[in-house]
Symmetry: C2
Subunit: 250 residues, 2 copies
DNA sequence: GGTTCCCATTGATACGGATCAAGCGCCAAC
DNA sequence: GTTGGCGCTTGATCCGTATCAATGGGAACC
């Protein structure tokens, strides 16, 4: 609807439509959190454009020079790194309101690739200008530090998962995490569509796709979830959570 | 030598001794990187004190409120998180010039515990004041963003290791990483002392202590390293690196 | 100097998940 | 409507690491 470029609308309204954090439903999840409306306007002027990314397309890939961060406005992304010998590791799945590209600050070039798993839209945030603006808006600066820190905490959680948990615990943790994030965004926490393949889930969780498939089947047999291809329904959330608590019985 | 508090020296010289980034051998690794000498002095005034932590003591633990970050001035730390059901995951080992506590920014309280693995010394950096100062010193702000981002990149590397690599690959990667970090600090990259136990290495690498021990022995049998308790000598670095490159032969 | 405790090594065995393999269902292209 | 390909499921087997167990050695404490 509020596409960029192709339709020749007059500039003013285009600018208006382009980016408006203040009217964005994600402002409570995203960078603008807690900013005054005046500060939010300053942030808006900085965001040069929204970009649409079709399912399967790359927003950027490892090695690309970094000039902007991206806030997911709509859709779903997969982030992955590749080792020198070609092994891929999915490092995360990002949805609306989450920031992409923070890994790239350290070296001015991206270390991950970002691939859209469904038709998506991102707000492009030029990094140098964000740095500058954050010097004038303390709460923006603070928010951004928090976002970076939260990513570190999340990564530690994944390490815990990869280092200590068994296959079914990992998958349970993954489903619970997705469920909570959907809920935060106003979607159902019980019914959702998996945008990624079993293989991508496996890569994220340090498992093979067959193991993911088997664990899904087992959860279904136990009556915890119903799965049909990419559709998931969580029918017994407490049971899923119990798996995580290292419940003694299998 | 430059202890804090106990010895009643006159204030001026104490202040001088307390913290002097400008004369600190770590200034090229730590936050002050690239700051002018004038800016460095501003940073120094902010760092309230140096603290000594004895081997085995905790600098902070998960749940503690966070008011400061810490720069390791001397020594060696282990960072770990604990899951609700009590499983411990070591998330990293930090040495001189590295920053501790960045995970705590997101929630104003620590999510990790930091334990000294040898007698250590840290510079305490009050976070609110660092935020303030970084608004006035762009290169300080930029450095700090980079430090946070670098931590995210490091974490992604650990995910790759935990998600994709076999036991011996993980240990090889660990040894190479330690070796490089010692070299950066002017220590030998070939001979060093492991400050952590086999169990702590195992927790970091997602393996059990027996597996660490066996892999050490195997590397030694193959002539890649010499190990004696905590002492390690790397005798064939290229061979260790070859293990990482997924070399076909075992 | 001896005792104790913790850490490390090594062996035997068990088990979880990887790997190999076959078959199915769905969607897109023709 | 048919064909091909990709993603998913399920079974059989294998392999790597965990687990269990016994022993050894070094450092700290008495």
């Amino acid at each position: 609807m509020t596409t960029t470029g192709t339709i020749p609308i007059q500039e003013v309204s285009l600018k208006n439509l382009r980016v408006a954090c203040s009217s964005c439903s994600l402002r409570e999840l995203c960078l603008p959190l807690g900013l005054s409306s005046e500060e939010m306007i300053q942030l808006e002027t900085l965001i040069s454009q929204r970009t649409r990314i079709k399912k399967g397309e790359q927003l950027y890939s490892a090695g690309d020079p970094m000039s902007s961060l991206y806030a997911v406005r709509l859709g779903f992304f997969k982030m992955s790194v590749v080792s020198e010998d070609g092994r891929e590791q999915v490092t995360g799945f990002q949805m609306a309101g989450e920031l992409l590209g923070m890994d790239a600050i350290s070296s001015d070039s991206h270390t991950c690739s970002a691939i859209a798993l469904e038709d998506s839209e991102v707000c492009e945030i030029p990094f140098t200008e964000l740095e500058q603006l954050s010097r004038n808006i303390p709460s923006l600066q603070h928010n951004f530090y928090k976002v970076l820190s939260r990513e570190i905490v999340r990564d530690h959680g994944v390490m815990m998962l990869l280092g200590n948990m068994k296959a079914e615990e990992r998958l349970a943790a993954f489903l619970i995490n997705l469920s909570q994030r959907f809920a935060l965004r106003g979607y159902s926490s019980k019914n959702f569509i998996l945008r990624m393949t079993r293989e991508e889930i496996g890569s994220y969780l340090g498992l093979k796709l067959e193991t993911i498939s088997r664990s899904f089947s087992k959860f279904q047999d136990q009556g915890f979830i119903r799965v049909s291809n990419k559709e998931v329904e969580i029918t017994d959330l407490p049971a899923l959570k119990a798996i995580l608590s290292g419940c003694p019985e299998k």
